[in-house]
């Protein structure tokens, strides 16, 4: 055990000291901060005021209703928002083309941001029938702006059509009141206070973390084994440490580096989201316009299930990666050979979508029993609704058995592989390695 401990400590110390680790550890929280700050900066620097002319060639009150609707659009939420559009309306019945031509020449020409014309809407009788309103402007490539414009237009056109059919405007307003679906999650007969969205977000985040960690740290185990082979230190190690101790120490060492880095990121993430306002203040920005970043609460049992399956999954995949490393003599060899292992992880990630749709389907139950995907499947299902005890236990048992079998197999390949140089073994040779080790 003393020797395994020495291997773990060496692995941990050397990995944590590398430039890649330090940069990676700092970079992710920095990105998180920049993302939040950047979002706020963008939303504040862009005054968002758009100068629009409504070219009104329609009869009735269509043009004036549109003008009013545009004036009502606010920047930001709530009542304190400023108006988004500066609107002018030009009556253009009969002289459409000359008006359009002169406006085209005006759009975007003025340097002054206040008087600058951003674009113009053309409203005609035909537009009411076809539902096609023309907009000419300098900002047409912005999907959000066009989306906003369209969603302002839609109710106005609808209202105008209904009014022309004889419905009173008040009636229209009443009838078009919004409908929204408020979701609340019930877990084991209790309201959790979580919305459906947040539990989806949670499953999503967990799965991606699992995917990233298994892949990233698994591959680190692999390259660490290859490094030992190519630097020929393996022979000294093999003379005093048994291959199994060496593999165990390596997997545990890299695993602890992974947990260490992930917990730094998690802590930084929690800290940043909890302190958005002070961080923004550092950049002399007000926190008012920061979009609310909320972290869904993670229940303790869920965290436990996630961590348990993370550890199991890591053992499973890291030992396979170690065996791949032992089979290969160069990184190039390894990039090819590791593909089947990586596919397992990718399949696990793909399972997320059907599982979220129906976490208690037969497919979901089966996936929870397959060791290669259970580390993904079971926490996802648990995050939607806690599994009944027997089912959870069964999933844990089959996964543990799978992990034991795979580590046993991997350690036998590892044992022979670490001292074999030259060409990669064929499947047949691999089987012989497993038998003779």
């Amino acid at each position: 055990m003393h020797k395994v401990w020495a291997v773990i400590r060496r692995e941990f110390r050397e990995k944590v000291r590398t430039r890649a680790f330090i940069i990676g550890t700092i970079l992710i929280p920095t990105f998180m901060t920049l993302l939040i700050v950047g979002q706020v900066v963008l939303s504040q620097r862009d005054t968002g005021l758009r100068h629009i002319i409504v070219v009104d060639a329609a009869g009735g009150e269509f043009g004036s209703r549109l003008e009013a609707a545009l004036r009502d659009v606010k920047l930001g939420s709530g009542d304190r928002g400023r108006t988004k559009y500066r609107v002018e309306r030009i009556k253009a019945e009969g002289r459409m083309e000359p008006v359009k031509d002169s406006l085209v020449r005006l759009v975007g020409t003025s340097k002054d941001s206040l008087s600058k014309l951003d674009g113009f809407l053309v409203v005609t009788e035909a537009a009411l029938d076809s539902g096609r309103v023309e907009y000419y402007g300098s900002n047409v490539s912005s999907l959000t702006e066009m989306g906003a414009l369209q969603s302002t237009l839609r109710p106005v056109v609808l209202t105008e059509r209904l009014v022309r059919e004889g419905v009173s405007p008040a009636m229209v307003q009443k009838a078009s009141a919004e409908v929204s679906l408020e979701t609340s999650k019930i877990t084991q007969g209790k309201l959790t206070g979580e919305s459906g969205e947040s539990s989806f977000f949670l499953a999503y985040a967990m799965t991606f973390m699992m995917y990233f960690a298994l892949l990233f740290y698994g591959i680190q185990v692999m390259s660490s084994v290859i490094e030992e082979k190519s630097s020929r230190i393996m022979e000294v190690l093999a003379s005093s440490i048994s291959p199994f101790q060496l593999m165990l120490g390596k997997v545990l060492g890299v695993g602890s580096v992974g947990l260490f880095q992930l917990s730094i990121w998690a802590a930084a993430g929690l800290y940043i989201t909890a302190n958005v306002a002070p961080i923004l203040a550092l950049f002399k920005l007000s926190g008012d316009s920061a979009t609310g970043v909320s972290i869904p609460s993670v229940s303790l049992p869920l965290l436990g299930v996630f961590l348990l399956f993370f550890v199991l999954g890591f053992f499973l995949y890291a030992s396979m990666y170690a065996a791949v490393g032992a089979m290969c003599s160069t990184q190039q060899d390894a990039t090819q050979t590791q593909q089947p292992v990586t596919i397992g992880i990718v399949v696990g990630l793909m399972c997320m979508f059907p599982l979220l749709n129906d976490p208690s389907s037969t497919l979901a139950r089966v996936l929870s029993l397959i060791p290669f995907v259970a580390p993904f499947a079971t926490p996802i299902r648990y995050s939607v609704a806690p599994l009944p005890w027997p089912e959870l236990l069964l999933s844990i048992v089959t996964t543990v058995l799978g992990v034991l079998a795979i580590t046993w197999l991997a350690s036998r390949i590892y044992r022979v592989g670490i001292l074999a140089y030259g060409k990669k073994p064929t499947l047949r040779e691999l089987a012989r390695w497993v038998r003779t080790a």
Partner: protein
């Protein structure tokens, strides 16, 4: 073959004879197809007893990115030493081999010779009873060779056992108490150096050197009634007299040929001469089926 406790034991043989393979089997790195290995009188493997054995493999290797001292501590730990003990011992050894200024440097910053010394220290840190060195002097300059030789001799003097493999006979001859010569995986000679020399003396060995008439000298060396075997270096040679011949006859022949003798000495056979006589040129190349040999 048997290695007695204490002293320096040489495992000699041509390239591909199986020296490294033998050593790797001792260390439990590869498993023998047949035969038995016992260490310290117990039938246990090299790995079980690794705390008592220091091993310098032929393929030198260290973690390139690790600092020298950290690396030595790690190697000590794998032999069961505590961190503090390993650290103290490593510092003493680094000082002794003139590397203390490098202890904080990364291994990759060191020259090859220095790296080899670091690895040498690594296999001695835990004061092993048995030190196994596979080609310890290959790739070292004369000064560093000397330093390592001194350490090896000192270990043997302390009553510990050193087993080293080499194909450089001069070195083995000066250092070893006992040698085994193997060729093609077979033992050819086994014994103390004195025993071997006595057994292999034959009709007598003569070391000679001459200064002119090399062609005439070569003719004499080819005379099989006079000389059984010659290790001819051009201007010097070590010869084994043919049965029935003696040194006087050889001397007369050489004087008659007017080769300008600068050395003529009746000697014990050198290990080099014995090696070549025993192993022969046909055994120098290993049979192809030995694919696992380093």
């Amino acid at each position: 073959m048997t290695v007695p406790r204490g002293g320096i034991f040489g495992l000699l043989g041509p390239n591909g004879a199986g020296k490294s393979t033998t050593i790797r089997m001792l260390m439990d790195i590869i498993v023998p197809d047949a035969g038995k290995i016992s260490l310290f009188g117990a039938e246990r493997t090299g790995r079980d007893l690794s705390a008592r054995i220091g091993y310098l493999p032929e393929e030198r290797g260290l973690y390139k990115k690790m600092r020298v001292l950290d690396h030595l501590i790690f190697l000590g730990e794998t032999k069961g030493l505590r961190r503090s003990v390993a650290s103290a011992k490593a510092s003493v050894w680094l000082e002794r081999l003139g590397l203390s200024a490098w202890s904080g440097k990364k291994v990759e910053d060191l020259s090859k010779g220095m790296q080899q010394k670091v690895q040498f220290i690594g296999c001695l840190l835990h004061d092993p009873d048995l030190v196994i060195l596979d080609e310890p002097f290959s790739g070292l300059d004369p000064v560093n060779s000397q330093v390592m030789k001194d350490v090896v001799v000192e270990i043997a003097r302390e009553g510990r056992t050193v087993l080293f493999s080499t194909h450089i006979m001069e070195q083995a001859e000066k250092m070893c108490d006992r040698v085994v010569i193997i060729a093609r995986g077979e033992k050819v000679i086994d014994g103390t150096l004195a025993e071997i020399k006595r057994a292999e003396a034959g009709a007598g060995h003569v070391a000679l050197a001459f200064t002119r008439n090399a062609a005439a000298a070569a003719r004499i060396l080819e005379d099989r009634t006079l000389i059984a075997r010659a290790d001819d270096y051009g201007a010097a040679a070590e010869v084994e007299l043919a049965p029935g011949a003696d040194s006087d006859r050889l001397l007369k022949a050489l004087v008659a040929a007017d080769v300008g003798i600068s050395r003529f000495e009746v000697v014990e056979p050198s290990l080099q001469a014995i090696f070549i006589a025993k192993v022969g040129t046909d055994a120098i190349t290993a049979p192809a089926r030995e694919d696992s040999d380093a």
